[in-house]
């Protein structure tokens, strides 16, 4: 038997945006087992729910993640609204959908950039982030914040976008689409990239299902799971195409995210075309009593916010289950049997967001 050695990977590693620690058990250059551990940036957000009034907790829920912040705030609001039986105005639902999809565009472009950086294509990294900057500019113009939007509140949204600005956003998206088209063509066609990614970190469909892969990781392995299908916010009124690939390797995960950029643009344009007029918020009185599991589709997969209230201004319990946490068992499976040099690429291919996962 070959001698086994353990190499620590992370929590600080040039390729990792956030701290996760992996103990890689190696036989020669081959990874035979992986022991993941997290717990470096736990912030105690769930406990904080007992100390802040439930309408103020939206700002804290939003700060769970610095990338999909809007979707965190929205999911928490959805939970409270369901507990309190609040009917949200139609226009607010459409605005939530528009901002969610902008978050997805921004997150996927950020990931494409970081992924390019992980296999040493720094130029592509800069190009992806240049396009992402245009998305962030739109976010700032419409909500006042680049990455922490703070636009959602219980009972609707805090800001409205006037129709003239919506039209401008729609026209802007056309030119962004052209730029993304050029960018993704390089990602999907360039021989050096396909050579680096194909057949690396393969996750079969049965493994993806049994290990609970969510989001683009699951969809790249052929699982057609997308929470947007459930029709929360205004997704029920829009045509949604679920992007799936069958190969389950790192390249397929890249393809899924690249193609989702276009579906996101389509969804935003559809929402802008069909957005109804009307108010954007309703007045909320009383306090939540009861519990609810609120689910939504984050750029990384399924997000769950559990809220439980006892009729006072302070919630009893909040629980956040983020997609990265569910994607760690599939990551371990992908890493078993790979080469040591492929580990950074495979870890990045699940789009880890440890800040979310530890709350």
């Amino acid at each position: 038997m070959t001698r086994q050695i353990i190499i620590p990977f992370g929590p600080q590693h040039p390729v990792l945006p956030e701290p996760i620690h992996l103990d890689l058990v190696l036989e020669d250059e081959k990874v035979v087992d992986v022991i993941p551990s997290i717990g470096y940036i736990h912030r105690g957000f769930e406990k904080l729910v007992e100390k802040r009034e439930f309408p103020d907790y939206v700002y804290i829920a939003e700060r769970t993640c610095g990338i999909c912040s809007f979707i965190h705030g929205m999911t928490y609001c959805q939970g409270i609204e369901q507990v309190m039986n609040i009917e949200i105005p139609e226009r607010a639902l459409f605005l939530r959908t528009i901002w969610s999809e902008y978050s997805r565009l921004h997150s996927h472009l950020l990931w494409l950039g970081l992924f390019a950086d992980s296999f040493g294509f720094e130029n592509l990294f800069m190009n992806a982030w240049r396009i992402r900057e245009r998305i962030l500019d739109v976010m700032e113009q419409t909500t006042g914040g680049r990455v922490i939007q703070g636009a959602c509140k219980i009972g609707g949204v805090r800001l409205d976008i006037d129709n003239e600005k919506l039209g401008r956003m729609s026209r802007d998206l056309d030119s962004i689409r052209e730029e993304i088209d050029v960018l993704t063509t390089i990602f999907l066609r360039d021989s050096s990239i396909t050579h680096r990614l194909k057949d690396i970190g393969v996750l079969s469909k049965t493994d993806a299902y049994s290990l609970g892969a969510v989001g683009p990781v699951g969809r790249a392995s052929g699982l057609a799971i997308d929470l947007r299908e459930t029709g929360y916010a205004a997704y029920g009124k829009l045509d949604l195409e679920i992007v799936t690939e069958r190969e389950g390797d790192s390249y397929a995960r890249c393809v899924v995210r690249a193609r989702e950029l276009f579906t996101s643009i389509d969804l935003i344009k559809q929402a802008i075309n069909t957005i109804p007029e009307g108010p954007v918020e309703v007045k909320v009185t009383g306090a939540p009593q009861g519990e609810y599991f609120s689910r939504s589709e984050q750029p990384r997969g399924e997000l769950v916010h559990y809220v439980k209230g006892n009729g006072t201004k302070f919630l009893v319990r909040s629980r956040i289950r983020t997609p990265t946490l569910s994607n760690i068992p599939p990551l371990v499976k992908m890493l078993q049997g790979c080469e040591l040099a492929d580990v950074p690429v495979i870890v990045l291919s699940i789009d880890p967001c440890i800040g979310c996962a530890e709350r």
Binding site: I60, N127, R130, E133, G144, G145, I148, I186
Partner: protein
Amino acid sequence: MAKTALITVLRKPATIRYPFEPAKKTDISRGHVVIDESRCISCTLCQKRCPAQAIVVLKDEKTWQIDRLRCVVCRACVDVCPVTCLFMDTQYTAPMTTRGVEIVAITYVKPPRPENPSPTGEAQT
């Protein structure tokens, strides 16, 4: 790819030289909170609603304090202020070298009540 490279060479830089050129901002950008101390009625609503507990209002000493390093610039205080004496400036907070709170003395003076209150019957006429 050659086309992209050519466009990138000919295009202006995507970045700005920040301290020398002003940062991009919009009309509704959340920069930092400012107070109009001549209108604040010390109602302490901003202190109660602040999710980061960055604001302290001392009624007796007539001061409004903010810890800029705790403030998360969420605009909750601006929304809740009943006399709209809080505003959101679009300029981001400047870097600082020392910790500490910024103390603003409230100069609001409650207007005196009108003297000689009329009997209720006369006031209605």
